[in-house]
Symmetry: C2
Subunit: 320 residues, 2 copies
């Protein structure tokens, strides 16, 4: 592909052509050699979108909630990009059927773009691929970009932390979940949504969450609201949507938005450097050289630290 | 500390002086500037120990099992080094009380060395710190080095894979556990131990594990045995200990030991390179320079890929 084709993709993404948006994302996922050029063309047009992360345990009804939220946002004509992350799934962009099944009412809406991402192709890590997908959708003019992750492990936490506003979804009856929240997801939430609020135990879950928030390290002014919703009955969704937008406005004014984006950029930069360096090492050191080194290590003729030092010395400038 | 002191530590570790062994491990954990020199002094004396990884879900009774195994191994006068890993714990070498509580009968045995490791200090990652601790204990003459990890997440899997023989511990009644095994721990097991074999449901757990192994991708000759044990009643422990040693003998003869060690060395080398590089970048690029770059990124004046490229260009040799 030549520069003219990159220009074509960039200009079509910028006018919101969905076919080219999908194509650009696939190229980024597949580590196309043009990926960096595409991002370069799009990046100056980024920065307008509000990125919303939605996470929670399996069975919390996240997809239904995202569907209901999108309905709500569409009423005020906001364009919505949705990125569905399933790190355990080998399916990515090709999973059109999956998207359709999960969000049938939005697939024909021109103001909505849905994309599934799994592990395939994202050699540089799913978090990096997600960040680049956000850039494409941002440049394409989507006002709100919703990242929905399945599960609440480290990978999901990393991904959801690329968002401006993070919604952690709970449901009544997942006893261990509150425990899990304590362990690490607690501090990433800007908003807690308690889904299935029409079922038994919902008010108990709300109370427990509020208590946990009080006992936690949140500054008083930044304590996340706990919002009960019923996605199926569409109750509380307007309040949740309003809270998401309101928190974002506050963050823009207070400087929290800028601070968080800059922290995220530092993390992204670190990840890209590591990833580019691994590629560089692989291109500079042959498998044969590596095998010889590994054999020396196995025979305890040299330490791993010394071998690492020698490899870096052959790559890095300076007198180390 | 000067070279003479490093020499002293190395020579005292080599004769098995526990005080110096503990000191050497602390220096490695704390990324002492002498760490690489200490490893260099010890590494030629490594390679004799048999490293055993023991993992399983919380509540599976791993510590009791390790205690019983050590008793068994001590009967044939094998020196045992035990590394207790708890990634969620902030306590490390200092957690002597914890060690004593967990394995009271071994703390006065001269042929046993126990060390707890948590997250503190292990900046280069707990897996790297564990590998270096294994080197110290190996050089100090411990015949068997047992790494016990709490939990079965990715961090624990990474750590336990630094072992020659991996024992995955199950117990009856943890319904979800078998499910979790399927998801990722399954393929790292050389041996399955079903603990609390005197309780209800143990034979069902054994059957389920055997079925799962049959359905899995293990080559017929490498299918892990499933061994029921009762650590508290000391039943089956002799069989488990025998199986661990027998598998190791087979692996030494068949070349599996060498193959696995070399794979582990490649992973270790990769991790050390990444870690050394991050340190190098931090020492070459000032916080001010980084802040300026992050601000340019925030203003969308340059893409993260370009900034990463520029930083690497300033560090790496060649014409990229």
């Amino acid at each position: 592909m030549n520069a003219a084709k990159v220009d074509k993709i960039v200009s079509e993404v910028l006018v919101g052509n969905k076919r080219y948006i999908a194509r650009a994302i696939s190229m980024l996922e597949n580590e196309s050699s043009q990926a960096a050029e595409i991002i370069k063309g799009l990046y100056p047009h980024c920065g307008r979108a509000h990125v919303i992360g939605i996470t929670g345990p399996p069975g919390a009804g996240k997809s239904t909630m995202v569907g209901a939220l999108v309905n709500q946002f569409r009423q005020s004509d906001k364009k919505c990009g949705i990125i569905l992350i399933d790190p355990s799934s080998p399916f990515t962009g090709g999973a059109i059927l999956g998207d359709r099944i999960r969000m049938p009412e939005h697939t024909t809406d021109k103001g909505v773009f849905i994309r599934s991402m799994g592990t395939r192709g994202s050699l540089g890590g799913l978090a990096l691929a997600t960040r680049d997908t956000v850039k494409v959708l941002d440049a394409a003019g989507y006002d709100l970009i919703i990242i929905e992750t399945v599960g609440i492990g480290q990978a999901e936490t990393d991904i959801v932390q690329t968002a401006d506003t993070v919604v952690v979804v709970s449901v009544p009856g997942l006893g261990d979940h509150i425990q899990t929240l304590k362990a690490g997801v607690m501090e990433i939430a800007d908003i807690f949504a308690v889904n299935k609020a029409d079922t038994d135990g919902a008010s108990k879950t709300v109370r427990e969450l509020k208590l946990m928030i009080e006992l936690s390290n949140y500054p008083a002014a930044e304590r996340p609201p706990v919002i009960p919703v019923s996605s199926l009955k569409n109750e509380g969704i307007d309040k949740l949507a309003g809270s998401i937008l309101e928190l974002h406005s506050q963050a823009l004014e207070s400087g929290r938005f800028e601070k968080r984006r800059k922290e995220q950029l530092a993390i992204e930069l670190n990840e890209i450097i590591r990833w580019q360096l691994i590629k560089r090492i692989n291109s500079k050191i042959s498998q044969h050289e590596l095998d010889v080194s590994i054999n020396e290590l196995y025979l305890h003729q040299i330490t791993p630290h010394e071998t690492a030092h020698n490899i870096l010395k052959s790559l890095l400038k300076g007198d180390e």
